[in-house]
Amino acid sequence: MDGHFRAFSFVDRITSVQPGVQVRGLYQIPLGIAEFPLALAAEAVGQLAAWSAMAALDFKRRPVAGIANSVELLSPVRPGQTLELAADIEEVDFDAVAYCGTAHCGGIPVVRLNHCVGPMLPQEDFDDALAVKNRFELLCNSGATPGGFGGVPPLVLEQTGCETGKWIRANLQIPATADLFADHFARRPVFPGTLFMHKVLELAADVAGGIAADGGKWIARTVSDGKMRTFIPPGDMLEFEARLARHEGNSAVVAIEARKGKRVTGTSRVALALEKNS
């Protein structure tokens, strides 16, 4: 089946929308997948905000990943659960959208996005505007058939250097082909910023894992100052460097930068908390 609007789409239904103001929706995490990282719950909130922003501009522009002032990671989710999504648009115009939002699961907050900004780019560069508009109508009416997402593709960080508890360098080979590229985006495949964030979280946990934890475990709590500087096409090789920026007692901050050659692709900081084993 064609992966368009399925392979990397995380809104099944829009339950209420005021274009350019606010939007609410639902997403059912498919049962058959191994995991659903919180980075993808953040993706779902971002996609919901994108629908409201695009509707405000008659689908002539679409947002792409840009800046996440902070993403709070509040509670894990699992396949089979339904995300209740909410986004409030702070500003939208032909150049950018600013929004905040949350995903809840059974009334419990799982992620909160604060002050996110996405550049608004010509829709036709990424997708067929009419098809996007028709999809919006479907989501607002009967809703889409759940279950299109087939899981996170294999993304292996290959460590190239480290100083335990201080820094790690690693390479990430972006797959040249993956189902998600049929949907993100139909006319211009781009590696999603939230999957980038997923790997950032993994690296941050690896760096913090080298700090003496006295039997506890470091848990990522907030991603802040996340910024995507370039599009990442299929097949690219990214070089990550994750460095412990601060460590005081039960809290740590890891700063992460990814490059392709000399060009910085993305940056962010991850705050982690040490949770003691009970």
Partner: protein, 142 residues
Amino acid sequence: MSNENITKEEIAAIFPKVAEIMADALGCDVEKVKPDSSLINDLGAESIDFLDIVFRLERGFKVKIPRGKIIEDARGSLSESEFEKSGVVTDAGVVRLKAFLSEVPADHFPTPLKVAEIPKLFTVETFCKMVIRQQRAAAPAQ
């Protein structure tokens, strides 16, 4: 919109907060951010950083800054066709721009000046002035 009456004292008053916002957005030390620092050439800002900075300034100073505001204000009373032709700033546009961006040394203006290159001229002070203008615009009339 005139900017000649923006005083050095007004700029100095908001500069520390602007510098802090810029440093946060660009991930650099605040000491590196000087009033005459060029955002692109000295601080390494890219287009996504300009978006970031504008939104952070909006939140930090509680003002609205429409995207493209600097160039729109710089154009002043000139129409778009009087300001630029085929992506190149006209002579009249350059005169207007030099007056508007009075903080930028005249020899930093290349000839010809492409519209797309205007952001290369922007300094930290340019953004301080933009915030002050927006604060004034938002203030109730006396």
